[in-house]
């Protein structure tokens, strides 16, 4: 496209607003309006097909008076906290390892990142079959401890979800840490070396503090992202066994699109948004402000 065919506008500043309009329109229509809409729907009764009736706080009562909400919140929190605690140290370790310039590490990295490319549905289907107690990996290796009814026991199923989530996302986070480590100036290590610091000291007093912003970025993505694990859990356990892996996002889907209770489902959605915003703000507070540019400054 050339300027000849383009709408004629004066080339001075100030008349640029129209360029942002298409994006703004899409975002308003399918993100901002729904965001307001979900709050409105939480005060209604709707089965997903018929008419929508305003029913005040009925849906809120239905959700808040039911122990199901606390359970979903608890499961969501467990998945969030445990997957964070499992992924973060491993991602840092692998990130530091991958930051080395050795050839074989680059080759390993190529393999590591394959899980990032797969859809959650594909991963869920694979693990479902792989963890089969009779024909899965455990039986194949003949290791008794791996032969479990992985997806049939509540605690095990939760553990499996956390493991599979980590399998899927550790590559991404180690990629972030690899980038972070490579931005740490060599001179800092050289100075520390002259001062006689060992590797362990260097890790704790240079690498880790220098990774502060990467840690915050990565943690924010993990924590806020864990609110939206839906496809993986939906395909792998469908929230089961019982309600053992029924996280908030799944709870919203099941109430809304399976039980046809859009009002209560919208209440859950509002809770999801609020929890997400609170967490993002909290992590930002911990990080002390905007991290997107500080990371560049660190180089």
């Amino acid at each position: 496209m050339t300027s000849a065919t383009a709408p004629r506008k004066k080339g001075r500043g100030g008349s640029l607003g129209w360029l942002a309009l298409p994006a703004l329109a899409f975002f308003l229509a399918f993100a901002v309006v729904p965001l307001v809409g979900v709050l409105w729907l939480s005060f209604t009764t709707w089965d997903g097909l018929g008419e929508i009736r305003l029913t005040g706080l009925d849906s809120w009562h239905a959700v808040l008076d039911n122990p199901g909400l606390m359970h979903s919140l608890w499961v969501t929190f467990l998945v969030m906290a445990l997957s964070w605690a499992f992924q973060t140290p491993l991602s840092i370790l692998l990130g530091v390892f991958l930051a080395g310039r050795q050839r074989y590490r680059a080759v390993l990295a190529v393999v590591y990142f394959i899980p990032l490319l797969l859809s959650s549905a594909a991963i869920a289907i694979t693990y479902k079959a792989l963890l089969d107690p009779n024909f899965g990996l455990g039986a194949g290796l003949g290791i008794d401890i791996l032969i479990q009814d992985w997806l049939g026991e509540p605690t095990l199923a939760l553990g499996v979800v956390i493991f599979v989530v980590s399998w899927q996302f550790i590559p991404f986070h180690s990629l972030l840490y690899q980038g972070g480590v490579r931005q740490i100036p060599r001179s800092m290590y050289e100075a520390a070396e002259l001062d006689g610091a060992g590797r362990v000291r260097m890790f704790w007093s240079i690498t880790l503090p220098q990774l502060k912003y990467t840690i915050i970025t990565s943690s924010t993505l993990m924590v806020v992202g864990s609110l939206t694990f839906f496809d993986l859990i939906y395909v792998m356990t469908a929230g089961g066994p019982g309600d053992a892996t029924r996280v908030l996002a799944l709870d919203m889907y099941k109430r809304g699109f399976q039980a046809n209770l859009m009002g209560p489902a919208s209440v859950i959605a509002v809770i999801l948004v609020v929890v997400g915003l609170l967490l993002a703000m909290l992590l930002r507070r911990i990080g002390g402000g905007n991290n997107s540019d500080s990371q560049l400054e660190g180089a």
Binding site: M1, F30, A269
Partner: protein
């Protein structure tokens, strides 16, 4: 494990001694813990993938009779033929239409918005547009899915490919604008100035200066969004109903529900749907990886 590779000058003897005593968490070259983790993680990644590949070539009876980790004695293509002869080619086309149909406009309008925000960001209007998009980054957009469903019904787009495309575009905007505006900001001011002196319009500057200079970022953003939408599950699940409107991830889940006893066929479908992305990964690994961390590493 974790073979130390001496790229730096050898260390002095006393330090080596000390490390041996406390080889807990050393950092770069002699990173034993990292090395061990690295090789173990390799196994954890490779074993399931290896298993998918070999199992997809087994016959169903063979699958139940043989050790899962041993390759098939008589490899068969029957599973692949079965998948291809089912409706998968149609789902494949659906996925391509939805992905391209969403990524191209999403990147184009995000680029325009990012350009406007960088060039005219001092104005109140563009400033608030920018903060609106930034806010969108912090909100789990999946939570808006019920009103999106309602809107799509009211637009008479339920159970259509377009119905999936429109929200996908909107969900892609915040991150795309953030990343693209970071890159447009790096363009030297003098270049914009000389374009202006040459009498170029802002529209002309956008296409003839900013776009060519930030092409790698544009590719990166396109890949990131493409992968997200290609692998997307929730929108197709909620916004479609008929089997012939399914995209690949949803089709996979349905196929698995239907043929859950025929594990080799299910895994062949997993492999086939992943193949295009794996090929892309082989061809443009660097672009793809930078695409995945777009905006977070920068």
């Amino acid at each position: 494990m974790g073979t130390p590779v001496a790229t730096r000058p050898r260390e002095s003897a006393p330090r080596q001694h000390r490390r041996r005593r406390s080889n807990v968490r050393p950092t770069s070259n002699k990173n034993w813990l990292g090395g061990a983790a690295g090789w173990i993680w390799l196994l954890i990644v490779v074993v399931p993938i290896y298993w998918i590949v070999i199992t997809s070539f087994k016959s169903q009876s063979n699958y139940y009779a043989t050790n899962p980790l041993v390759p098939p004695t008589e490899p068969t293509l029957a599973n692949y033929i079965m998948v291809i002869e089912s409706d998968f080619p149609l789902y494949f086309v659906n996925s391509i239409i939805v992905t391209l149909g969403a990524v191209v406009p999403a990147v184009a309008i995000s680029f325009m918005a990012a350009f406007a925000i960088v060039r005219g960001g001092r104005g109140r209007f563009l400033k608030s547009v920018n903060s609106l998009f930034l806010m969108g980054l912090a909100i789990p957009l999946q939570a808006t899915i019920i009103p999106v469903y309602l809107i799509i019904i009211r637009l008479n787009l339920y159970d259509s490919l377009l119905g999936m495309i429109l929200p996908s575009i909107a969900f892609a905007i915040p991150l795309s604008v953030l990343v693209l505006s970071n890159f447009i900001r790096d363009i030297p001011k003098e270049l914009f100035e000389s374009m202006r002196l040459d009498g170029a319009t802002e529209w002309g500057t956008l296409w003839r200066l900013a776009f060519p200079l930030t092409r790698p970022a544009v590719v990166t953003v396109a890949i990131y969004n493409g992968l997200t939408i290609w692998n997307g599950f929730l929108l197709p699940l909620i916004l479609t109903q008929s089997p012939d409107k399914r995209t690949l991830p949803l089709a996979l889940a349905a196929f698995q529900g239907q043929y859950s006893v025929n594990v080799p066929a299910v895994l062949a479908s997993v492999l086939l749907t992943t193949l295009p992305i794996l090929v892309m990964y082989m061809v443009g690994r660097r672009q793809l990886l930078s695409g995945l961390t777009a905006g977070f590493g920068k």
